[in-house]
């Protein structure tokens, strides 16, 4: 095994529930020790199935999962020593917070004073000291969430899985919990595999993100790379906002390509997934990379008509009709300088060809 250093390894894993459809297809994934890996994808993309296979609640139909270089398919969940945080917290409703946290320690037959010490430590880690005697239903959603995190960490597992743990919280609480989990991860250095369908959550917390679609990992890279350099049109459209142009490559040379659109216009793009003339492509451009009244060095300059302005407080989203694409979005910071942005006006828009990534034509 060449990648024997990886802590968790999915090796050619297939999973099917009914023998007809593969939920996970030929999955290969290496996770290093101490990493915060997020599995991101739309529902039904196979990310939760992967997590369940890792936890031991599902068995791979084919292939093997290695934990610390040992195959684990035949080890039952309770012997894997993997902490887990569930979507609905899964706190034991008939036990107090203390008893919830002591559960993994009691089954490991630790001494009472040792259990007390560990529970204290775990609770202070999530700043819930003093709530030991409460029942789970006497806690707020955020507190329950913290107890669940503390419980998954109290027995010092090397690996913690989190299955959309923040899904049930409101937006503000979710954001503060994101930071909290991130800090806990940084402080104790545990390996975390985190599942979510919320891209901003993934971008905020992860050291690397695996984007799932259709049972496959579409891209595995750090958040910034994922956002700025998506390798295919699915990732580009799933992560963040995106302007797309569909067309055909007419020329490709020197790290640039010309793409002819349906409207007849040509744009210069960065060939990522296209190799030769005549290929169909989808060009992806982030809204914030296109600017109004472009500088001269930008190699794409076009005129567009303002169709709609959507106010967002600190910035406005301007929808343009540009080169036959009526859904072209532009982000304009809220400043007094731009008074010419009015519905129906024509404006100049430009971008660098490097930021316009010519990807595969597959649409989602």
């Amino acid at each position: 095994m060449t990648s024997s250093k990886s802590f968790v390894k999915f090796d050619k894993v297939d999973k099917s529930y009914d023998g007809k459809v593969l939920v996970v297809k030929d999955l290969n994934l290496d996770i290093n020790e101490g990493e915060f890996i997020t599995m991101l994808g739309p529902s039904g993309s196979g990310k939760t199935t992967c997590l369940m296979m890792l936890a031991g609640f599902e068995t791979p139909t084919n292939g093997e999962i290695y934990l610390d270089s040992k195959p684990i398919s035949r080890i039952p969940p309770h012997k894997r020593g993997i902490g887990m945080v569930f979507q609905n917290y899964a706190l034991f409703p008939h036990l107090t917070v203390y008893e919830n946290l002591a559960f993994p320690l009691k089954v490991r037959k630790l001494y009472k004073d040792e259990i007390d010490k560990k529970v204290d430590k775990a609770l202070s880690m999530v700043s819930l000291s003093g709530l030991e005697k409460r029942m789970p239903n006497q806690l707020s959603g955020g507190q329950q969430q913290r107890v669940a995190v503390a419980r998954s960490l109290v027995f010092d597992p090397q690996l913690v899985l989190m299955d959309e743990p923040l899904g049930a919280l409101d937006k503000n609480l979710r954001e503060s919990m994101q930071y909290e989990i991130k800090h806990i991860h940084e402080n104790i250095g545990v390996t975390v595999v985190y599942v979510t369908h919320d891209q901003s959550e993934a971008l905020t917390m992860s050291s690397r993100i695996a984007v799932f679609n259709d049972g496959k990992v579409q891209q595995l890279s750090s958040p910034d790379k994922l956002y700025e350099e998506p390798v295919n049109s699915f990732v580009a459209e799933f992560i963040g906002e995106n302007n797309t142009f569909t067309g055909e490559v007419t020329d490709i040379s020197g790290g640039k390509c010309k793409v002819k659109l349906a409207s007849g216009a040509e744009i210069i793009s960065n060939p990522i997934r296209v190799k030769s003339k005549g290929e169909k492509t989808k060009v992806s451009l982030r809204p914030e990379r296109a600017i109004i009244d472009p500088e001269d060095k930008m190699d794409n300059k076009h005129k567009g008509k303002i169709e709609e302005i959507i106010y967002h407080g600190d910035h406005a989203r301007v929808r343009l009709n540009l080169l036959g694409n009526a859904e072209f979005i532009l982000k304009v910071p809220n400043s007094s300088a731009r008074l010419d942005i009015k519905r129906g006006n024509e404006i100049n828009v430009g971008w660098n060809s490097h930021d316009a990534r010519a990807l595969d034509p597959k649409s989602i």
Binding site: H78, R80, F103
Partner: protein, 417 residues
């Protein structure tokens, strides 16, 4: 504070409280009208019979009215030796009146409940009293039968003097109040009710236990299987529920009798010799088997409805935290099903304790319950007041169980669905 709230007016100038009460009164009236038919129905068919039973069980005016003069004369009697001539005379006058009205049969039945042997001597007295001469009734009555000369029988009559008595309740637990007013048990060979109470409780307890042991895995399966299988299984559980109770009991008779299906099968596979066929009916075994089967759905359904609400992720959480499947079951899953166990057990136990048809048909002599005895007294001995007393004792027992359960588990924890 009230003076302040009174100042608040609605926009129309009516005090807020008045306006609010008006609105609420209409709602309350609506609610009452909705429940009124049921309330009325319950009052007639449930509450009033219970009150009637309560009255019936202590009412003893029949004897009091039958022998008015006798009881007045008996007031002076100390009950140690045979009563005086006065009492005998009063008794003779009362008795003649009863014969005229043809009510002496009822009296003899009532007195016979009090002490065996009254029936025949009253008949005899009726025949002989036609030729009684005036005066000296004591001699003449005592001459009719030697029992009329026995002080025990006169004491028995005196015991029936009060209009109301709780003697039926004492009888229900094999006791009576003797001449000194002490509570004593009846003779050993006449104690039948206490044994029956114990047997009823025992059978109800074991039927509940068997139901629990069989229903728990089924309910778990029902709650965890995929929809299409669980629906099928649910129908299997409910199908017997929809069949007539009598049909189900009769089918058990076909299965369990000595020439029945089960015995035939056991003989056929050679487990039992043909001349040693198992006796599974007309005894306790038959009652256990048939009642467990019939009451099973009452345990399955509450258990199922509770198990359905237990998130599978709780069990997963238990396992992921290192609990073995057994520990996870015992520490996580089982405690969460306790409300269902409580509801199911209470339901089955209460139903079992008053069960009638099944033990009547398959129970034989050793498998009958207290309700069969109540029915016997209603239909055969016509001692309705005793039947009422036992019925109320049963009701009190059920309420007591309910109370104990409430203290132990808490009635709020019950979940029926």
């Amino acid at each position: 504070m009230s003076s302040e709230t009174q100042k608040i007016l609605t926009t129309d100038g009516i005090p807020l409280e008045v306006s609010l009460k008006k609105v609420e009164r209409r709602n309350k009236l609506k609610a009452f009208l909705l429940v009124a038919p049921l309330l009325f129905f319950l009052l007639i068919v449930y509450i009033s019979p219970i009150i009637g039973m309560l009255f019936n069980s202590v009412d003893d005016r029949m004897v009091t009215k039958a022998l008015p003069k006798t009881f007045i004369a008996m007031e002076k009697w100390d009950g140690k030796e045979l009563p005086s001539e006065e009492v005998f005379e009063a008794f003779y006058i009362d008795f003649q009146k009863l014969i005229e009205e043809e009510r002496e049969g009822k009296l003899s039945t009532q007195l016979n409940y009090e002490k065996n042997g009254f029936k025949s001597i009253i008949k005899k007295l009726r025949r002989k009293s036609k030729s009684f001469e005036e005066g000296n009734y004591k001699e003449q009555i005592m001459a009719v039968h030697e029992r009329w000369a026995d002080v025990e029988y006169w004491r028995a009559i005196k015991r029936r003097a009060p209009s109301y008595s709780y003697s039926k309740y004492l009888k229900g637990i094999d006791m009576y109040q003797n001449e000194d007013g002490k509570f004593v048990e009846v003779e050993e060979d006449r104690r039948i009710y206490k044994k029956l109470w114990v047997r009823t409780l025992k059978i109800a307890f074991y039927v509940t236990l068997f139901c629990f042991l069989m229903a728990y895995p089924i309910a778990h399966l029902l709650a965890t299987l995929p929809m299409k299988y669980s629906n099928l299984l649910m129908i299997c559980v409910l199908l017997p529920f929809w069949t007539s109770l009598l049909v189900r009991t009769a089918s058990w008779m076909i299965l369990l009798q000595q020439q029945g299906v089960v015995n035939d099968f056991l003989v056929w596979i050679g487990l039992v010799a043909d001349d040693e066929r198992l006796v599974m009916m007309y005894n306790e075994t038959g009652t256990y088997i048939a009642m467990t089967q019939i009451l099973l759905p009452f345990m399955v359904l509450p258990l199922y409805s509770v198990m359905k609400t237990i998130s599978p992720s709780l069990v997963r959480a238990g396992k992921s935290l290192g609990g073995t499947p057994f520990i996870t079951f015992w520490k996580v899953y089982f405690p969460l099903t306790i409300p269902g166990i409580g509801a199911g057990s209470l339901l089955v136990f209460i139903l079992a304790i008053g069960y009638y048809i099944t033990p009547e048909l398959v129970g034989g002599a050793s498998g009958t319950l207290i309700s069969n005895m109540i029915a016997y007294h209603m239909k055969s001995t016509l001692d309705w007041s005793f039947a009422s007393a036992m019925g109320l004792m049963l009701l009190a027992g059920v309420l007591a169980i309910y109370w104990v359960y409430n203290k132990l588990v808490g009635i709020d924890n019950i979940k029926l669905g």
